[in-house]
Amino acid sequence: MSTVTSQPEVPAGVKLPLYMDNHATTQMDPRVLEAMIPFFTNKFGNAASRNHSFGWEAEQAVDVAREQIAKLIGATAKEIIFTSGATESNNLAIKGIAEMYRERGNHIITQVTEHKAVLDTCKRMEKQGYRVTYLPVNADGLIELEDLKRAMDDKTILVTIMFANNEIGVIQPMAEIGKLCRERGVIFHTDAVQAVGKVPIDVNALNIDVLSLTAHKIYGPKGVGALYVRRRNPRVQIAAQIDGGGHERGMRSGTLNVPGIVGLGKACELAREEMQSETERLTAMRDRLKNKLESNLDFVHINGSMKHRLPGNLNMSFVHVEGESLLMGINDIAVSSGSACTSATLEPSYVLKALGLGDDVAHSSIRFGLGRFNTTAEVDYVADKVIDVVQKLRELSPLYEMAKEGIDLTKVQWQAH
């Protein structure tokens, strides 16, 4: 047998290792870096310094960034609060709302495929006496509106549902959720980390009250994010979780990360200007990858809705091949897997499990995250290499052999250990 780590011809213009894991983080756009640099060096002022030009200059730059961010999501500049990233934004939103509206009720609704920054925050709220409903998702990875309706009661103060999922890229029915929350007078928060800059967002049209975003998923720097907090119709209030100098309208104290904020603003501006062309490009590349893989391999499975999905996401299971062994064979390509063998806990992805797939499908999954800097030549290289390695690993797989022989693997008596 030939070696598993294959080396298909590397097309011109493809540099290895190759990055296709843009849901984890993104490469910073050089235009973003360029905008940031002066604020590390000669424009170093504290945006809270009111008495000199250094401070004014910094404050002015922060105000520009606020505008750029607001414009991307249809908000106003005053509604943007800067944070250290989306983990903090999610914590601030959920804890801050729960605390502020405690008198009105103690019930929070979320769903099972949220990022840990939401799920673990909700778990903590449960310990503090709040009631949390975790809605299930269907096979497409989407919540059912009927479930949401049924879960709401007169103690419900907050619904927190992510815009787009970080593993399977599926987009929840935001307009319908927003409408329902507005009708019931419940605050609607969304972790929109993966959707911001990738799909059009209008917080007013969608009735979103609070929204988390982060710079490093949109070709900006790490360690800076924002929280949109609605100021009108209705005005949403959030109890501060960090005490100090009263920055950000008292909601988030701490000296502003001016270069980071400038970068976030620039990243938002670029995302807005280039969204349409980027969507077309990413969709075409993603579909090309999907078609190549599907037409050359049997027993492949797409995880999550293809219809309601981010342009750059493809999550596919190569059934009967374990994900980590596949990653090992394509080790010059950066992608990720939902397999237990790749995780510290040795548990397969809870997101894929929530779709009702067997654990074996989760173990075989690969997440491809296409981004701004990927090319069609890279897509072709990735497809060729994945096809080659999957075929070789299937020669090694007793499950593939059994499936080919027509054995129903669900009927086999396995010796789980």
């Binding site: 047998m1 598993v4 780590t5 062994s325 499950l399």
Partner: protein, 142 residues
């Protein structure tokens, strides 16, 4: 995850991949693990009925690179040993040889289980009441 050179070497050039006739009395088959756990190993041995020496071994594995390397190594090690000698192989030997990190120890345990299961299957076919049945009788019984 950084892999040891030996794991990479076995992963790239797995030894003794394949299958043997499960129904042959000379062949013992061990199928261990479960798809839900992310690892399934099938290890087969072909035993000389007179000498009890393992003359051939084959494997197929669904699992991580360490699981593939562990089973590939196991087939190499059992070949040429008698079944009793093969039962002496411990997962810790595999861990040592492949320099497996702690999170991958269970992959080596699975390989030891696979060896035991294959030998157990062969014994079931060939040893009745603690006595090895003669080669001709075993063939006749099939």
């Amino acid at each position: 995850m950084a892999y040891s050179e030996k794991v990479i070497e076995h992963y790239n050039n797995p030894r003794n991949v394949g299958q043997m006739d499960k129904s042959s009395t000379e062949v013992g088959t061990g199928l261990v693990g479960a798809p839900e756990c992310g690892d399934v190993m099938r290890l087969q041995i072909k035993v000389n009925p007179l000498t009890r020496v393992i003359e051939d071994a084959k494997f197929k594995t669904f699992g991580c690179g360490s699981a593939i390397a562990s089973s590939s190594l196991a087939t190499e090690w059992v070949k040429g040993k008698t079944v009793d000698e093969a039962l002496e192989i411990k997962n810790t030997d595999i861990v040592k040889e492949l320099s497996l990190p702690p999170v991958k120890i269970h992959c080596s345990v699975l390989a030891e289980d696979a060896i035991r299961a294959a030998i157990g299957d062969w014994k079931k076919k060939n040893v009745v009441g603690g006595e090895q049945v003669s080669a001709s009788a075993a063939v006749a019984a099939n």
